[in-house]
Symmetry: C2
Subunit: 179 residues, 2 copies
Amino acid sequence: MALEHAILVSLAEQAATGYDLARRFDASIGYFWRASHQQIYKTLARMEADGWVSATIEPREGTADKKTYAITDAGREELTRFSAEPSPREALRSDFAVKLRGLADVAAIVEDTRRRRADHVERLDRYEASAKRHYPDPAAIEEHERGAYLALRGGILSERTGIAWCDEILGQLETRSER
Amino acid sequence: MALEHAILVSLAEQAATGYDLARRFDASIGYFWRASHQQIYKTLARMEADGWVSATIEPREGTADKKTYAITDAGREELTRFSAEPSPREALRSDFAVKLRGLADVAAIVEDTRRRRADHVERLDRYEASAKRHYPDPAAIEEHERGAYLALRGGILSERTGIAWCDEILGQLETRSER
DNA sequence: CCTTGCCATGCAACTCGTTGCATAGGTACG
DNA sequence: CGTACCTATGCAACGAGTTGCATGGCAAGG
């Protein structure tokens, strides 16, 4: 499971509450790993039990205590261990590809492909804006941020490819469906 | 859930046993959706209960009956319904990107990236061989096979991008880790 | 004052998928 | 005759993730 590790990476950069993490998983880290707040809280509890993170509790009246989590030495060790193990190839599972392969309803696929294309464009814009803001000069990237930069580059390349694929699909299907 | 739909697509092309499907999910359809035989049997049972597929039973002595599944009208209807609904954007979850982002151990990442690159190359070869064999002349593709062709194109584009990304990573990290 | 939205935490039920295990006939090779 | 591999089906336990629900403080604006 990598949610734990994504959390460790995030906490290694900066301590945070579950809520903070949920927001990070909605942006930056979230580009590569999605997680709901429920799942984050559950996972943090387990990680604390495992000693990978420690919580600083700020008691609050009338509602649940606020807990700020920080990575521990054991957590850092686990992160190193995780880093060294080969990553499994991510299981490719695409509803869209299955649907395309079936090709039951051309007009619906075309519509779906347009939606998909728009989504790719939106993400690409987000990634590129992020790249421009954080790494305006790729030649001047510092070592500690190189990983994040390369991860972002992966996102950019993959969104561009997604757009190209959509265009290819639309090029071959559009004329056929329109009339 | 799309496993059901992937199975429907596959059975629409040709009736099959659970075992046959498991093998298909290890090739062709399996390029876009992975599934173990256990899961396929479980899902087929549910799909039969739902009336999407029907089984022709061939009794066998001393061991479990052989069941050949075929898609039903209800199954075809479900496939049409599924085709028309917008596909959710697949959740991107990448252990590798998380690891890269953390960048705890450069040498390990480099090794991992090389492994990953080799995997992409292997898949690309497989996809391209498949494309060459089934669709030697892209201009002459028949309508009924266009979906499968476009799905395969997606695989090819995505593997190429994966390779390019690995090369970019290696270009930036290799010299640093080697010496 | 009331509503809206953000900060903040969490439980419970459920679905989907993985892993390990079990069974058993048929066929080909040495 | 044994062994290995392919055909063929399935259960059980577990892990990971989703969806729905619940609680409650605090601040800003109308």
